[in-house]
């Protein structure tokens, strides 16, 4: 055996023994001093052979031992003589990779927050601060002759990349700044550039650099690539960079161009299973917080090479499948759905005609399933996503068929999505961009386009025009007014007659327009025919194109309900569960009831006292009032404020009973009556969940409007209703239920709640807590939290009442 080897071993064993058991400060110090000799750069160094042996075999053990000893008591032993500093020097000056691994190991191995953990963490921070990461990487590059085992290298990589997460997990709130991703990754990047520089230098100088350098330097280059021109050589195998890319939410230097990505990664995604998983599953399906450009560059990378394109097709299949799965639609957060839809569109834009054709049936099947379930959803955004993706995808998958068109209004989302669906610029993609890809921009150069000013009028006044045009003096055209519609009926009964039996559409429209005003002005006359009116209005169809028909009809109905609440509400609520109505009509009923209740509960509604004091001039500023600054300011504000009427300000609002209270029962209870009894045409608990959601919202609103009433039975019924439906799968329904709970809490007086509904409240509370934590829909979570807050408030108030 090499004498140097054994000498070192003996010395180290002895030293380790001393360090781990000795409590004598001086001996510890001297032992460390002797070990220090083996580190390069010490004052009286040991022979190089021994140094090398120490570094190779024993260094880690010594470090582990040191790390294990880091306790307040031990450090106290040699506090005066800089024991701590000496210890640290081992970590900071010895072979960096081992030091790094030992540090990470001891941090991760720590049971919980402790002095030792903090010390180690601080040591690691110093390690980072001292630029030792560069040494770690350089060490990997320069390991000559003896290629490091791939396993070790991988561990190292994982630890380097995962450092922020690991430390955050371990240190929780005690985490140090240096370990935060926003600090750590730039540091890492800089270090990489430095390493790269060093490697380049050494290549130039001596041509001695080992194979693994390619790995690290490639990674370094990738980061440098976006920064400076130091890209001497790029390796195709940038797995370190790749790890960074995949693990970090937003790597500081993500190249937003697929070419860069593919230069960096090469075909890694094909060779490496893990990479493939990350690229085709994790980034697409699991993480949905990435930015759109990043998504584009990722998919662009997959599309950029013929070997990788099958993966893209596969990804599209997977994406569409998830996109179309009914349960995903129901349970995935909206953010994710949006992300998925974008990914689908980008994939479609990147794929060629032939590739799509090959797997058309499969794609179409999942697309159709998805469109169906999306259009069924009661959330507008989900429906919208379904429409946009369906239009684009069907145009790509079925270019020969008639284009699919949905009627949706263009908004930011749709514009963004459609922009994604446009094929990338030709140089991006090796496949020729087929012209059919572009969603034919509907060419609608409306009437206005002409105003643009291509006014290339032929030369004016040519020929005979010149002489006499000025003679054409216009006549008086002041009589040219908007044409009056046919005469509006002046009696409610006339309206009724016009609406039911009129063939003159002008009159029909006029009647519809006049009805609301007539009902409000002649409540007595309206009351005589109120139910009949409601019936006519409910069944009214838009037979001719009347602008704002829905609004007119709704306002008229509301006016009727307000005029004669009890019978009309009774009629409407029974019709809600009647057989022959469309969903639209049923939802109209709900809307009308809500609006009418709102109108009825509006304070000071009936005594429409003429509150119009003449808009007298404001008192002159600077009158003789006390010159306190507040009055001056108020005066100034008043002089600048224009008031159209002053009156209510002086008198205060008329106090009056909430008119809705008397009739709230007519509105409320019948709606709860049959919700669990499906009809042939109407199944609230089945397909018609949209109406169910609307019903839940309406009930909540009615509850809320019946505030300050004896609303306990209503609250009780509503909580029961909520309870039966609380696990409904549709987010819209759940939102309605949650808002209903909130409105119960708001409307029913606290004491009564507690007296009459304690069990319901307790049940609701645990359910709310559960929803607030687990629900997939963000709005649901927010609503649940709101309701919980209300509960809290209620409890506090009751406690405060009970206390004195």
């Amino acid at each position: 055996m090499d004498p140097a080897v054994s000498a070192v071993r003996v010395a180290v064993r002895e030293a380790v023994h001393t360090l781990s058991s000795c409590e004598d400060g001086d001996r510890v110090l001297s032992t460390l001093g002797s070990l220090k000799r083996y580190l390069s750069g010490a004052e009286s160094p040991a022979p190089p052979g021994e140094q090398e042996e120490f570094a190779r075999v024993h260094f880690a053990a010594v470090l582990r031992c040191l790390a294990g000893r880091l306790s307040p008591g031990w450090l106290e032993l040699g506090a005066d003589d800089g024991l701590e500093e000496l210890c640290a020097s081992f970590f900071l000056e010895g072979p960096a990779d081992q030091a790094f691994l030992v540090l990470m190991e001891s941090i991760e191995g720590a049971a919980g927050p402790s002095f030792r953990l903090m010390k180690t963490a601080q040591l690691l921070a110093r390690f980072l601060g001292a630029g030792r990461m560069a040494a770690v990487m350089e060490g990997q590059c320069r390991r000559l002759g003896e290629p490091a085992s791939p396993l070790l290298q991988e561990t190292l990589l994982t630890k380097v990349v995962g450092l922020p997460d690991r430390l955050a997990n371990r240190l929780q709130r005690e985490n140090l700044d240096a370990f935060l991703p926003q600090n750590y990754f730039p540091l890492l990047a800089e270090e990489m550039v430095r390493v790269l520089q060093a490697v380049v230098d050494s290549l130039r100088g001596r041509g001695r650099c080992s194979v693994p350098s390619a790995r690290t330097s490639g990674a370094g280059g990738s980061l440098a690539g976006t920064r400076g021109p130091s890209l001497g050589h790029l390796s195709a195998n940038g797995s370190l960079w790749f790890m960074l890319f995949s693990l970090h939410p937003s790597p500081p230097t993500v190249p937003h161009r697929p070419e860069v990505l593919s230069r960096l990664l090469g075909n890694l995604v094909i060779k490496n299973k893990k990479a493939q998983f990350v690229m085709t599953r994790k980034l697409l399906f699991l993480q949905y917080h990435h930015s759109t450009p990043m998504l584009q560059s990722l998919l662009g990378y997959l599309a950029a090479d013929s070997q990788r394109r099958p993966l893209l097709v596969q990804a599209l299949k997977g994406l569409l499948e998830t996109w179309g799965s009914a349960s995903a639609i129901r349970h995935a957060p909206l953010e994710q759905q949006r992300y998925l839809s974008k990914a689908v569109l980008i994939c479609l834009a990147r794929l060629g005609e032939a590739e799509l054709r090959d797997s058309r049936d499969e794609l179409l099947a999942s697309l159709m399933a998805g469109v169906k379930s999306r259009l069924d959803s009661s959330l507008p955004v989900v429906r919208r996503l379904g429409m946009i993706v369906a239009e684009t995808a069907s145009a790509r998958l079925h270019p020969e068929g008639p284009p699919l068109r949905f009627q949706y209004e263009e908004d930011e989302l749709s514009r963004e999505m459609l922009a994604l669906a446009a094929p990338p610029p030709a140089d991006d993609s090796p496949v020729e961009a087929s012209p059919a890809v572009a969603p034919e921009a509907a060419e609608t150069p409306g009437r206005g386009s002409g105003d643009g000013g291509v006014a290339q009028a032929p030369p004016e006044g040519s020929g005979s025009d010149l002489d006499s045009d000025d003679e054409l003096v216009p006549y008086d055209m002041s009589g040219d007014q908007e044409l009056k519609r046919s005469k509006a009926p002046t009696y409610v009964r006339d309206c009724l007659e016009a609406l039911t039996s009129c063939e003159d559409w002008g009159r029909w429209e006029a009647a519809l327009r006049a009805l609301e005003g007539l009902v409000i002005r002649n409540p007595a006359a309206a009351r005589e025919v109120s139910v009949e009116l409601a019936k006519v209005l409910l069944h009214l169809e838009e037979k001719t194109c009347v602008e704002g028909f829905e609004g007119l009809r709704q306002r008229a109905l509301v006016a009727v309900v307000v005029t004669d609440p009890a019978p009309v509400a009774e009629y409407l609520t029974t019709q809600f569960y009647a057989l022959n109505f469309s969903l639209r009509q049923r939802m109209d009923i709900l809307d009308v009831l809500t609006l009418a209740a709102q109108e009825l509960s509006r304070p000071g509604r009936l005594p429409k006292a003429p509150q119009c004091g003449p808009p007298g001039p404001a008192p002159p500023p600077g009158s003789t009032v006390a010159p306190a600054w507040r009055t001056v300011v108020e005066e100034r504000i008043r002089s600048k404020t224009r008031r159209f009427s002053k009156g209510s300000a002086r008198r205060g609002r008329d106090a009056g009973p909430n008119q809705f209270n008397v009739v709230a029962g007519y509105f409320f209870f019948p709606l709860l009556r049959h919700f669990d009894r499906p009809l042939v045409t109407f199944d609230l608990l089945g397909d018609d969940q949209l109406v169910l959601g609307r019903l839940a919202h309406t009930l909540g609103a009615l509850m809320c409007l019946a505030v300050n009433t004896v609303a306990v039975p209503m609250g009780k019924a509503l909580l029961e209703f909520v309870w039966t439906l609380r696990f409904h799968g549709d987010a819209y329904v759940r939102r309605g239920l949650l808002s209903a709970v909130s409105s119960v809490l708001l409307s029913v007086p606290g004491e009564q709640l507690l007296a009459d509904l304690p069990d319901e409240l307790l049940e609701a509370r645990s359910w709310l807590a559960d929803v607030a934590e687990r629900d997939s829909d963000e709005d649901c979570r927010t609503l649940a939290i709101q309701a919980l807050l209300l509960l809290e408030k209620l409890r506090d108030r009751l406690l405060a009442l009970a206390a004195p």
């Binding site: 409306g446 009437r447 002409g450 290339q456 045009d469 003679e471 216009p474 044409l483």
Partner: protein, 389 residues
């Protein structure tokens, strides 16, 4: 300011202004009530809205088509033809203001289009009974000499282009809903069918006009379509030269001035669109003109290309200055939708309405130096509106 019909306080001024032209006294008399010769300073305050010269009643149903006939080159008196909802064609004498004859050839279905042919007193009438009748009106006859079956149920009016030697070309809506059929007449040979490209989807043709540029013998067809676009067809090549979207609603009618290569179209919407043809025969919208009320049923440009008139769904006829599109007058007399307007070569304007009346207006008389025919009705006494009421 008082402008009484028949009594012109501005007589002297008028003479002074228009004196440089040789105006025969009769024309002067016709011009007087219109006060066209007002000194400029007086024009500052607007003239009161004009009244119709006279009104023709007795069609017994809504008037859907109007056409002036005769009066050309001094042969006989000018006549006005009107087609009504009840399927009758009335031939009105503008002299007696009475119907001269009544033609019944459309089985009680609405007559939508009337057009006379230059030779031999022939009249074409198109009806909603899907028939196009050719009448012989010479020497007091009124018999259908020929008729053609139309394939289209639409409201599109046909158009005629005279080609000399008794030959003419007819454009009418074809059998396909978006097609236009071109026939060589009088042989009734179908020359071609103009069908828009498959992806254009302009809808039905709503109004047609065959014309021929002075420079070239190739017949061209302007067609307004249901989607609000106007297209220019090269008939011999059977292809669309250009198409421009003028409106968002169907084009209901347009007038085209082939000399200036400019046209104006009205639609169900609240605006008129003025468009032009450039040398490459590309249509482009020059400007749009907002109206007070939506809906234009018909647009006609006066033969001297000075003014144009529109028939409004708002019961009013609007008169514009054709070159500038300056509104000149709003003629409100009718109490129902105005369905059609027509200009006589001498400048008379007729408007037919759903209120079963035809109003005749005389505005901005055609100046004598433009080529006008002799006026057949000059001997009319100036009578106020509703003379025949």
């Amino acid at each position: 300011m008082q402008v009484a019909l028949g009594v012109s306080p501005w007589d002297g001024d008028g003479t002074a202004v228009s004196g440089r032209r040789s105006v025969d006294p009769l024309r002067r008399r016709l011009a007087e009530p219109q006060v066209t010769a007002l000194p400029p300073r007086m024009a500052a305050s607007p003239l009161p809205p004009p009244d119709p010269r006279f009104v023709l009643r007795g069609t017994q149903s809504a008037v859907h088509a109007l056409h002036f006939f005769g009066g050309a080159q001094g042969q006989g008196h000018p006549l006005l033809l009107s087609g009504s909802l009840s399927g009758l064609v009335h031939i009105w004498s503008l002299q007696t203001r009475r119907p001269v004859a009544i033609l019944d050839g459309h089985q009680g279905q609405c007559v939508t289009w009337l057009q006379t042919l230059p030779q031999g007193h022939q009249l074409l009438s198109q009806g909603r009974d899907l028939k196009l009748c050719l009448w012989d009106l010479a020497e007091g006859r009124n018999a259908v000499v020929d008729s053609m079956h139309l394939e289209s149920m639409g409201f599109c009016r046909s158009s005629v282009l005279t080609r000399g030697q008794g030959k003419w070309m007819l454009a009418m809506p074809g059998s396909g809903s978006d097609e236009v059929q071109i026939l060589e007449m009088p042989s009734k040979t179908s020359v071609c069918t103009l069908k828009p490209e498959a992806d254009a989807k302009p809808g039905m043709p709503m109004c047609l006009e065959l014309w021929q540029a002075e420079s070239s013998p190739r017949p061209l067809l302007l067609a307004g379509y249901e989607d609000g676009s106007v297209a220019l067809w090269d008939v011999s090549e059977r292809k669309v030269c250009s198409r421009v979207a003028c409106h968002t609603e169907p084009v209901m009618g347009f007038g085209f001035d082939s000399q200036k290569a400019r046209g104006v179209s009205g639609s169900a919407e609240k605006a008129l669109a003025v468009w032009s043809l450039d040398e490459q025969q590309a249509l482009q919208v020059c400007k749009t003109h907002e109206l007070t009320n939506p809906g234009i049923a018909d647009v006609k440009i006066r033969p001297d290309r000075k003014i144009l008139a529109t028939a409004g769904w708002d019961h009013r006829v609007r008169v514009f200055h054709w070159r500038t599109m300056k509104p000149l007058a709003v003629l409100s007399f009718h109490s129902a939708t105005v369905h059609c307007v027509a200009f006589a070569t001498d400048g008379l304007l007729a408007a037919g309405s759903g209120d079963q009346r035809i109003s005749i207006w005389s505005l901005y008389p055609i100046s004598s130096d433009s080529s006008t025919s002799s006026l057949g009705h000059v001997e009319h006494r100036e009578v106020g509106a509703h003379a025949l009421a």
